[in-house]
Every structure is written in C-alpha cells, then in structure tokens.
Symmetry: D2
Subunit: 460 residues, 4 copies
C-alpha cells in the first residue's frame, strides 16, 4: 500500500518500485514505528482530534500489530512501500477505516525521523554495555597481570620497559572516551521531531513537549524545517562508531603482532583463532584481523553518509533514505566484534618470559641519561653520552649493561659503579611514578581511577 | 565443515564463529567457485596429480553441485564456514573421500581471489550494458529533442542559450569514460591467482597459463605473494563505480532542478515519480534523489575498502574478507539505478516553451561583446561595454534587447542598428559552430561521434 | 639541530630530511611550545630537578623567544627539524648549556601532544565565536524578515508555505548543535599529556595535576601510553568541522538556488558575488559555491586522518605527524568562510513578491485535507480527495483555489463554500502553531529560544 | 585585476576577496597558462580573428612573461585574482590594449581546465619515473638477494619459506599496475577543453583539433558543457595516487616489522632512519611510517574531491576551485616519498641468518601434507595428519622435524624415513616451481618478466 497516489494517474514502474522501497531495511524500525504511533494517537486524543474511543481502538490495533512483530507473525504485503505503510495497512485490516485517522497531522518525514532517533536511543545503552564489557576484560587483565614486565614500543622499536597492566589500561581509556562521546550524543539525539509534519509543523494542537516525554525524549525540536532533515545524530553515531573501530584496530594490530612467532608474548585460545585450509601448522588471529578490517569499513560508512548529506538543498530529500543502512551496519559490526574481542582477551595465555627476554639493556639508555642528569649533567648532554654508550656497546657486540669501568669512564667521568642499578628494568619501571606513569603504585592508582570511570552509568 | 582443525584441540567460540564466517555473503560466488574447481581438477589431471578417472568423478560431482545451485536446491550446512568449505563438504557427500583430493596444491587464499576476480569479470559486461542503456536514452533524446533551445547555466546562473540535444549529450560522454575505465580495469583484473596456493606457489606442476585461458583470464599472475593479496582490482572497480555515481548525481541534481516548479523544463512520468503521505499535490523526483544519495554511499564504499587495505602487512590477512560486500553493494546499486534512470529520462515530458521563456536577453551579452570584437574592439573592452549595457538595461528595467539607439550610442559608438541580430538565441547558438560547440551542425556531428563511441564493444 | 644523533654515525639523506621535517607546518605551534616549556621548567623547579636560578634563566630565555615569535623576528636555522628543536636550539644560543636541562624528563612525544592540544583548545573559542557570528546574522534576518511568506520545499518541490523567519532559523539550530559539539569535545581535549615522556611516564617527581591547571587543562592524562598516541581529539575536531561544513553546504545550496533567476527570492550584494570573464551579465554566488565545495574538502580531511590512524600498532608512531595539516586546514577554511557567509546573508536583498508569487494554491492541498478532517473524514480519505482535486484542477488548467462549487461537490459532499478560507497562505501558516511550527506566534517563541541558546557562553 | 566587473557597482568585500582568490595555489599553473595562451593566440590568428602582427606582439609578450616566471621575477599584483588575470594584466603592461584581444572567444572555464590538464599531463611522466625508480630498487635487490631464504607470512603468522627475491618482487608488480593505470588515465586526460568557452563553445572559427595537437593533446573535447566541468581526470589521478600510497604503505608496514628487534631481518642505514629526543638507543623507521601515514592522507584527498564533485548541478560551478590543492598535494607527497623509499631500500643491510633462523620446521607442514599426497593420501586427510603432527610436536616441545619413527608411524603408516627431506626449506622452495612460484628458477624467470615490464616506456 502506498500512502499517496490520489494525484497520480499512472503506476510506478516495477524497477522504480524496487529502487524506491525502503521496506527491506526499515522494517527494523517496526517496534519504534508502533511506539511512535501509539504516542501520536494518544496525543491526537489529548488535542481533541480523536475521541477517546477512537484512540482506544487505534491503540488496541497497534498493540496487536506490536504483538505480531514480537511473535514474528506480521505478514508484509507485496505493496508495502515502507514500514510506515505496512503498519497503517495492517491497522486498516484490523480496525477498518478508522485507521485512516492515525496519520492526521503528521507526515512520514517526521515519523521516520522519530522512529530512527528512537532506534538509536535504544541502541546506545546496548552499545555502551558492549564497550564496557571489553573494558571489563582489560580491567581484569590489568589486575591479574600486575607483575608482568614487557617492552614498551614507539615506532615499533623497543623503547622502555613498562608494566603489562599499564599496557592493558592503555586500551581501557580510549573506550571510556567512546562511551562519553556516545553519552554526549544522546543530548542531541533525544530531541523529538514528531509534530513537525512534512516540514511546516502540524496544524493540530498537539502538546509536543508531553509527547516528547511520553516517548522518552528530552524535548521537542524547536524548528520543524530542521527537524525533518537533521541527520547530524546519525553522522555523529557513525563517527563515534568509527573511533571505536579505530581503538579496536589498534588493539588488533598489537594482538596480531604479539601473537606472532617473532614477538610471542601471547597465545590465543583455540576458541578465538582459526587455522588454514592449506597449512596445517597455522593458528591465525582472524578475530583481530577482522576488527582491524572492519575499522576501515566503519570509516567508509561515515564517509558515505557525510557525502550523501553534503549539498542537500531543502528539508526532506529522498537522499536521506540512505541514512539507515550505515547506522545498522556500524551497530551490528561493533556488537559482533566487542564480545568476541573481550572473549579473546580474557582467554589469552601469557608468556611473561618472552616479554622479559625482549627487554634488552639498551632500553635502559634513557635511565642511563637520567642517571647522568642526577649527577648534574644537562639532559641534552646526558642524552648524547648515553647515545654514544649504545653505539659503543653495539660496536663491541655487548649488551649496554656489559660495558666495563674503563669504557664507562671514557664516555663520561660522571659514571660510577652504581650505574649497574640503572639496568634493572623493574627499577626503571618503578622510577616512573608520576601520575599516569608505569610504576606499580601509579598503575594501582590508575586501576582505581579506571574502575570508577567504568562504573559510571550513562543511561538509567 | 571447516577445512582446518587438525592442530586445534578446542572449538571456536560460537560468537567468534558468527563473526568469522563469510558464507552469508560469499555464497554469491558459488558459480565461480565451482567453475574454478572444475578447472583446477582438470589442471591437476594434466599435471598427473589426479588420474583421469579421479578428474572425471570430481567434475561430475562439481557439475551436480552447480546444478543444485542453479536449481536453488543446494543445502548449506550449519558448519559451512564459507562457500569453499560448503562446496567441498557437499562434494564429499556426493563422491566420498576422493573429494579430499580436490584441494591438493591450492589454498583458499588463491581460490577466493580467483572466484572474486571471476565474479567481477562477469559483472563488467553486465554493468557496461546497463551504462550503455542509459547512454542510449540520452542519445535518443538528443536526436528527438534536436530543435529545442534551453538556457545553459554556469554557477546555476543563466549563462548562454544552448541546444537541449547538446545538454543531453553532455551526460552521454561521462558515461563513455566510465565504460572505457571499466574496460581498462579488465586488463588488470583478468590475471589468474590460482596456482599461487597460500602464498608461495603451488608445489604441483600445474600449467598455469593453460589454466588461465581455460577460465577466461588473460594470463597467470607473475608473483604468488602479490597474487593472493592484490585487491587493487576491487578498489579500481569501486572507484569506477563511484565516478559513475557522480555522473548520475550530476544528472540527478539537474533533473531535480529542472522538474521543480521554478524551472519547470521537464515533467516526470507518473511511472518514475512518487507522492507524499501528507501533501496531496506533490510529485517528487525520488528516483533522481536516490541516485544522488547513492552517489554518496558509493564514495563511502570506496573509502572503506581503501582504508581497510591501508597498512596491511603480509600477503593474505583476514582483513581482506571485508572486500566483497562493498563490491556487491556498488554493483547492485548501479544495476538498480541505471535502468530506472534510463526509463525516467525516456519518459520525460518536455516543456520547450518554459525553456525558451527562460532565455532572457541578458544571456546574449557575450554575443554583444563578440559583436563589438567583430567591429574591432579588443575583447576585454568589449566585455566591459557589454557589462555596462547589462547594468544600464537593469537600471532601466528593460530587457537588454530593448535599449534604444541613443543608449547604445552612449555605450559605444561602434554599436549600429544591426546589433538587433545579436539578440536572437537561435543565431547565438548557430554561431558556436566550432567542434564540440552547441551549434546545430556541430551537435549533429557530435551525435555521430557519440553513436560510434556507443557502439564500441568492449567485451565479446 | 636534531635532538638526537649520539647513536648515529651517518647523516640523514637530504631528501629524507625534507620528507621528515615538520617545521614547515608545526612552526604554527610556536606559541604553544614556548608556553608548554615555561610550565615544564617551572614544574621541574618545583620537583627539585632544577634550581630556582636555573628555572629563572630558562624562563627568561623562553620569554625572549616568545617575544621573537610575536615580533616575527625569530630566525629558523637550516637544521631545525621541528618547532621543538628550533626553540631548544635558540634557547641554547641565548642561555648556553643550561638550555640542555629543559628537556629533562620529557620527550617530543608528550611535548607535541601537549602543544597540539593547547592549540586546539585556543582555537575552540575563536571558532565558536565565528559560528555564533553567522548565527547572529540568521537571528537578525529572522527578526527583520518576520512577515515574509515563502514557499517551503521538500524534494525541491513546492510543499507548503512557511515564514521566511522560520526558514532562517532552520539554519540557526544546526550551528547551535555544532557549538555544543565543540564544547563537548573540550572535555576530552583538556587532558594534559605532558609528563608522559616518550611512553612510560616521566622519571622525575613532577606534579602533573598542578602542571595541568597551570596550562589551562582540566586534568592530567591517566595513562602515559595512551596519552602520547591519543589523537581522538583531532579526529573529533575534524568531524565537528565536517558537520559545520555540511550545514554551510546546505545553506549554500539553498542560496545558490534562491539567487538563481528561476527562483529569484534573493539578490546578492555586489560585495559578495563575482562576475564572469566571458559573460558580462553574470552575477555568481561564488562564496556559497566555495562553501559547498569546501564541505567536500572537509570530509576528506576527516577521512584522511581516520585512515591514517587506523591500524597503528604502538604508542607513538611517526604516522601521527600527518595529524596537524588537516586540523589547520579545517580551521582555516571555516574561519575564512563563516564571516563571509555572515556578510553575504546580512547584505542580501529580498524579493518578497517573488516568494509570494511562488506559493501556488496547490501548496494548500494539505490544508484542504485538514479541512476535510475537520469535517470528520479520516485523514487517509481526505488526502485522497485532496489529491483528486489537485489532479482535477491541473487537468482543467485551473488553480486549485479556482474549482467551482460543482466540482468540489463531485469530489466530496463535505466541501462547503467555507473551503475558500483554506487557500489563504497566511492562514495556513498561522494554523501551524504547535511548538516548532511555522506560525508567527510559534516563530516568535522560537526566536526567544534561539536568543537564549545563542547567548550561552561555552568558554570563559 | 579582475576580468569582470562592468556590471557591478560595488566592490568585493575584502574577506570575500581572500576567500575567493585562487592565486595562492593556481600560480603553480603559470607555465601551462602561458603555453595555452600562446597556442590560443596562434589559433585566433589562423582563424582570422587576429592579424599576424597582433599574434606576433601577443606571443612576444607572453614569451616575455614566461621568461619572468622562469627567472622568478614575475611580480604579482595585489589585485590579481588568479593566474589567468595576472598573466593578462602583465601582458597589458607589456603590450598595451592589444592584450585585451587575447581572451577573445575563450573563458576562464575552458582556460583553467586546459591549464590543469596540461599540468597533470606533464606530471605523469615525472611520477612514472619516480615509481620506476622505486621499482628499480626492488629489482636490484631481487637480483642481489637471490639466495636468501626468509619466512613467508599470512595473517602475520609464519606460513612457508620463500625467497627474499620473490618477496622484493611482490612489491614490484603493484607499482607496475600503478604505472599502467596512470598510462590509461592519459587517454582520458589528453582531451583538450580549450575552445569550449564558458560552456557553449567558442563563437570564433578556431580549428580545435589543430589546437589540440599543438598543445600535445590527443584530440579536442566533443562536448563543451562536459568539457568545462569534467574533473574525472583529477579524481582518477587521486585514485591512482591513493593506490600507490597503499602499495607504499604495505611495503612500509613490512619494513617497520622487519626492522624491529623482534624480526630483525633488516637494518636501516643511518641515512634513512632517525633517533629519539629522549631515548638514546632508538633507531626509528620514520620514512616508512611517514609513507604509511601519508597513505591515509592520500585516501582523504581522493575522498574530499569526490565529495566535492557530488551533486554539482551545472557546467562550471565555483566548487571546482577545490580541485587543485589535492592534486598538487598528492603529487608532492609521492614525489617526496618515492626516492626516499628507493634510497632506504637500496641501503638496507640484510641479516640473512635471522631470516633463516625464523624458518621453523612447522612451516614445512604443508610439505609434509604434500608428501603424504605423493604417497596417495587425499590432500584433506594429509592435511589432518600434518596438523596432528604439528600438535604432537608442540605437545612434546619438539621441532616438527624432530619426531621419531615411532611417532611418525602412529600418525600415518605412509610416513617413511624419507620424510626427513621434507624439512629442508631450500627444497621446499624449489618444489614451488610453477610459474609465479617461489622456486629459484621461477623467480629467475619472473625477474626477466619484471625487467621487460619495467622497460616499457609509457610516455615518449
């Protein structure tokens, strides 16, 4: 059934129908569409547009339809153009011509904007919980892997020793930012378009603020022209999803590296890795590779919607129909990825001895420079001395900690036998005790901070 | 069925399975997968790896499977991980353990790359034909709308009169470039990966060049490491699809404008327009708006794949699994759009009188300047005089062609009564007779050029 | 001067130097770099790492350098690799080897992250003010153009009459969302990385919370590994800039249309339009076309940074050097566009008679349907009747308001002579009096809301 | 100087001027602009529009201007709006009012399109040569590193041994595709827009085909409306640049890995690596990280232009002014990167013993399966047996080659003492002798193929 046609003498071309219909994807808004219609019928009742009986019958019909959707028994008809048409068509079958009163004073323009916002509003807590689930996995590892030292990297070169706990937490905080970003989005999302009609506002005396509260929105949109075309929230959702994707891709890249034979810091559980159809020995980190790959796809979903929105002229343009698939796709990707990554992280086996072995003494060169600073040398000179020490040790094929007193002396007269202490990685870590640093005490404090942040309830 | 597992003691986590499986989308490669396996079995036979009888049995089984796919009777099993696994599993059911010999010397890495290339190779002629179909609609209009004058625009400001035929053809040529671009892509696409195995090349003496010819490829890939990871062809396909999308979006934008009440140059057929659920008078150019919107989505598909490919380290990484959905999506979008737009263009009603009325005399100001050039004035000065004439006419509230002899004289002594001829738009158009210009004779020649280009057969 | 090299025996290849240096663009961070160093020197003093005298000398030197930057007299040296190196090099020239103590306990990794965040923190209020400036132009127009009726559009088809004030305000609110989004970003931006050193945290007892306050940050980063690599804020800034770009592109598209000859609703001031080198009569809306074009460029800047960040493995990777140019570019684009668009909007001439004439009676078809609803007909049937009326009027070549009593009667017995009132657009507008609607009273209330929103001070 | 203004009474707002001017970037087209004008003047002469003397004077003036640009002595004036205006202004200074005849019959629309195409046409051979330079570095390494075995990876897991030569060549072929793609682009690029005037074609009898040949184009554009707005070539250039960026990013990712301490396969020359301002021991692969990062930026440049082009309505719109910076930026990035990467590749030190040591016996598991295939076992069963062998060896803490006869027997009765041969990686490599495989003979053949491809001259 189409909700229009009185003005038309010809029929839509069949291929045009297929191109035009949104039912294949907007049926995912069924629950929201019915909820919006229930509230709208009630609002029309309060406004005196419908009688109490009419409201009652319409709402009974709508609730029956909701039941059919829950039960999976709702039957779409060949000519249902979109979810709105399908629901109104079915309502007509259930309650007769009275169904035709439901659309009074509204348009599909404000209706779909309302449905879509409701859907995203309901997606946010679910996505927040999934992100928090992965955070919990990081937190648990940060607590259990507390005493493990690992090499920290910059430029993928061994840089300085850090605590593994600290490293796990470095993946916790980006996700916390994601959760905050989603919560910020909610303020801009929970603005009700319904009552904006096609573009000019409804001509019936509906109390839109009450309607907003009824549907769980914070307030009604202040401008009808803006309300029917505003898809900022969809773009903002996709941006937030893209950043989450990037955070997962960073974790993924590290996990792919750290489970390689060359690094060998972690081993994946069989439950979260796969094999090869050709090479029997392979154990592949597919879950993480998929996370990394989907990060690219998420960027594309965002870009696509932004490009679609660019340069649109008026209020509602049909181009906006392209808004739903990317949001559904981004949500589904993250909801599929997050629990799997949490599972993979939780079930990792550690190889602390591999990590410890990878901390070569040259990673303490900064500590050597700091040692010289402690002896009064300006840092810039201390850095140069330490650099020369690294080169000297490399030229001699020695570990940096294996230079002898004579060699130290030629490098700087300030270097005394107590330089040996410099080369204990545990001590190195402990020296980084300022807030946010990798010292055990600082990390312990960080875990408390993280737990507090993790417990924030953004939705109630 | 998974094609691996001997090395594994645990089972894949169910959520990980769902994330990992590609069957929901790669089953679209079923026909190509079977074709590739038929050729591979034959090649193993030629190489002496399989006996003639073994090849015969395997090929009989594969042909039976192909039949099941054609008939829609192929039953996927719960544990089919991807299309390759499904086919091999089914082959085993049909012919027993001999099925296990088919995968000798190949890997899913070279197999999926082959399937995917085959799919795109088969998509190209279909897409080419759909683009040519829209071109044909433009050509037909260019021939039938030959005598119609319309205003040409730059900056969406009325600029100079042009022939409507010329305007239709301006949408023909970009599509010709698209077809050429796709044909260029074919050279890079028709390179066979099969025989590259997982990454190092097959260890069996397969004649890859024969295999390539057998499957319709031009040649075998020169480097196995590159062959299993090269997805340039997919990116190039998406880029070409994006440009086609842009060309459709340009047409769409113009059609949205020209079917508006304000322009009113065209009226859409009922078969290719839709109405409003609220406003009974509306006749909306949804098909063109969808074309414009999908142009944005296509950009996103391209961007997403490029971002996914960026920074991949090794030969085959699982990230590459994200390659198929964007190609399928782009192809489906264009194949849905192109015939509908061709239909909409073909069934448009013209309003030539609206176009003619929109050619206001100021659009001949360039001709006025050219007239002065003809009288010997340098163009730059002629341009200034014509500009002043426009301002004078506007100040007086007159059409530019309505200035009197005295006014002309104050503007330039070079302007004589023959200036009147300047203001005939038909004449203006006729003056632009250099090749590529809008003069009727030039457009006639252009139509011949376009027909010749249109008839090029890129695929045989 | 490079800040490294002790370990190296060879020199950097000259082409590699050019590729590697960031000075051409990061010199824009000069002021922030000096500010960060001033605070760092003081913090080292508080921590007992530097003496009071040393702090004094270093800060005197840094202030002298700041003066040189203000005065434009700072001379970069050929071997300055980046802004940090340049400042430290110059400091050494001014105060001698003591300069080498400034870098104690920090790294360029935390230093550049700090500089960059400071820069964006200082950019936010400026950008907010520029956006608010354009909002002010909309508000002023909304107040001055209060009684003007114009056609409202959906699908670029004439839909329903609206107030021009209402239309101007529809461009106000998206910018308000942009300002809120930027303000939300500030929370995630004002987190101090300094003290994170290269990756593991500083080894000196610096009070990072005090340091944060000193530099205007809200707090110190909780995790050093995250702090040196987190560029979420840059991506979020680019996203916000992209959305602002989209909002400007929407305005631009409408302005291009409405200043066309066909719409003719507005005329641009000479001060904000340009002419043609060939066609003397042209008056082109270049400023708005540039806004629309730059919206595309902004999307690219966002996409580029997201793609760059995807899949980075460790803490600081040199890829991050690509982060600055897009932020500078996006900021500069918006700061160039916003005041020009505000000027163009403020200086527009209106043609209210053209707008009024464009409100054809068929735009009141919804009101006709509402009229029938008022007579008790379900909306769906009323919509069909109104649709038939539109078709009947069109077939007869009449305005919808020109149907006679007999014709009305055949359409519906419910239509009485009072139907005439339906066709007054002023009345139509007045009927849309629910909040957010286009009725004068609702718009008046909306103006008050907008003023209150506009006056919110996000930064103090 | 602006080339318009006769119609205008007011002046352009100063901020609007700054926004509008393109001179800061289009001055890079100076040489092409003068070349185009020289040819245009000659064409006007042939057409009888200018006298021989006029053509002579104009061309003398233009050549003088070209000399000024070469010498760097051309002085831009405050009011030069773009490069075209600057040249015409200067021409007037040099030859007087006759300069005003040069713009006869053309527009900046066809002029800038011509300049821009010329610029890209001249950029192609330079870019081709730079790509070929990096290819040459790969070829040289492929020849010199011929006997080196290394582990090949899929999913970054050790997969099978390959020849290092083969690996180098895997980076050669993608660049060859890039060169072919650029050469294909040239066909669509070398189409002359000049003579299209603003949009409708020139009104003077210019022989555009001769003009095309004169300027090095293949032919004249067939449709003036298309010619002034077609920027497909710019998008295609950016796409090709993006793919080259991806190919460099893949190399870069591998180099970052292989120069890490964990892999340790290569060591960078000091001339192509950098150090740390904090950590004296660091040697960072910045050049490759920049390549990887810039790959993201290139994707953004492409995306931005595509988004800018989307939905443009008419022929020339000012939005197109956004087309140049991305092309210049992409070209400059690649021209900066390619020689540096070639230098870095050429100067690498190898550590063949590290590569050899990384080939653990489990990487021969596929060979074990192939061995069983040779004994008649279907591959699928052979794969399972080999998988079990890997697990058994791992459980026992043995290399796969260290299982004893008893253990082999329990795995499969088909395994005989000759299984030992399976575990020689050199033999494994030699077995992959089909074309495109990693066997020395196949690689030798591949080198010949690569040399032949490399020598193709795409431009003469």
């Amino acid at each position: 059934m189409t909700l229009w046609g009185g003005r038309f003498s010809g029929k839509l071309d069949p291929a045009a129908w297929v191109l035009n219909t949104s039912l294949p994807f907007d049926q995912r808004l069924a629950r929201q569409d019915v909820a919006g219609s229930l509230a709208w019928a009630a609002a029309l009742g309060h406004a005196g547009v419908l009688t109490e009986d009419e409201v009652g019958s319409i709402c009974d019909g709508l609730r029956a339809i909701a039941g059919e959707f829950e039960a999976g028994s709702f039957a779409f008809a060949e000519l249902d153009e979109d979810i709105h048409s399908a629901v109104e068509r079915r309502l007509g079958e259930l309650i007769g011509p009275l169904a035709g009163k439901l659309h009074t004073g509204r348009s599909r323009n404000d209706q779909v904007a309302t449905d879509f916002r409701l859907w995203v509003m309901q997606a946010l807590p679910a996505l927040d919980a999934a992100i928090a689930g992965l955070q919990a996995a990081f937190l648990a590892r940060a607590e259990s892997d507390r005493d493990v030292l690992m090499p920290g990297y910059t430029h993928l070169q061994r840089a300085q020793p850090v605590l593994l706990s600290h490293w796990w937490l470095s993946h916790f905080w980006p996700l916390q930012r994601d959760r905050e970003r989603l919560a910020d989005l909610r303020k801009r999302l929970a603005i009700l378009p319904l009552g904006s009609a096609a573009l000019a506002g409804t001509a019936f005396p509906v109390d839109r603020e009450s309607l907003a509260k009824e549907l769980g929105f914070d307030s009604a949109s202040p401008n009808s022209l803006d309300a029917v075309s505003d898809r900022d929230f969809a773009a903002e959702f996709l941006f937030s999803a893209s950043l989450t994707g990037l955070h997962l891709s960073k974790l993924a890249e590290a996990m792919v590296l750290f489970t390689s034979a060359e690094f060998g810091f972690f081993e994946l559980s069989d439950a979260f890795s796969t094999g090869s159809s050709l090479m029997p020995q392979k154990k592949n980190p597919d879950m993480f590779e998929l996370a990394r790959g989907k990060a690219g796809t998420l960027i594309g979903l965002l870009t696509g919607l932004l490009a679609t929105l660019k340069g649109l002229p008026s209020t509602y343009d049909k181009d906006l129909q392209e808004d739903k698939l990317p949001i559904f796709g981004a949500y589904d990707s993250l909801m599929a990825l997050l629990p799997v990554l949490a599972g993979a992280v939780s079930t990792l086996s550690l190889r602390p001895e591999r990590m410890r072995a990878a901390i070569d003494p040259a990673m303490l060169a900064t500590d050597l420079a700091d040692y010289l600073v402690g002896k009064g040398l300006p840092f810039r000179e201390a850095h140069a001395v330490a650099g020369k020490a690294v080169r000297l040790a490399a030229d001699k094929g020695l570990g940096l900690d294996k230079l002898g007193p004579g060699e130290w002396h030629t490098l700087s007269e300030l270097i005394a036998p107590d330089v040996a202490m410099v080369f204990d990685p545990q001590k190195s870590v402990e020296r980084r005790s300022a807030s946010g640093g990798t010292a055990p005490a600082a990390v312990q404090k960080q875990i408390e901070q993280a737990k507090a942040a993790h417990n924030v309830e953004f939705y109630r």
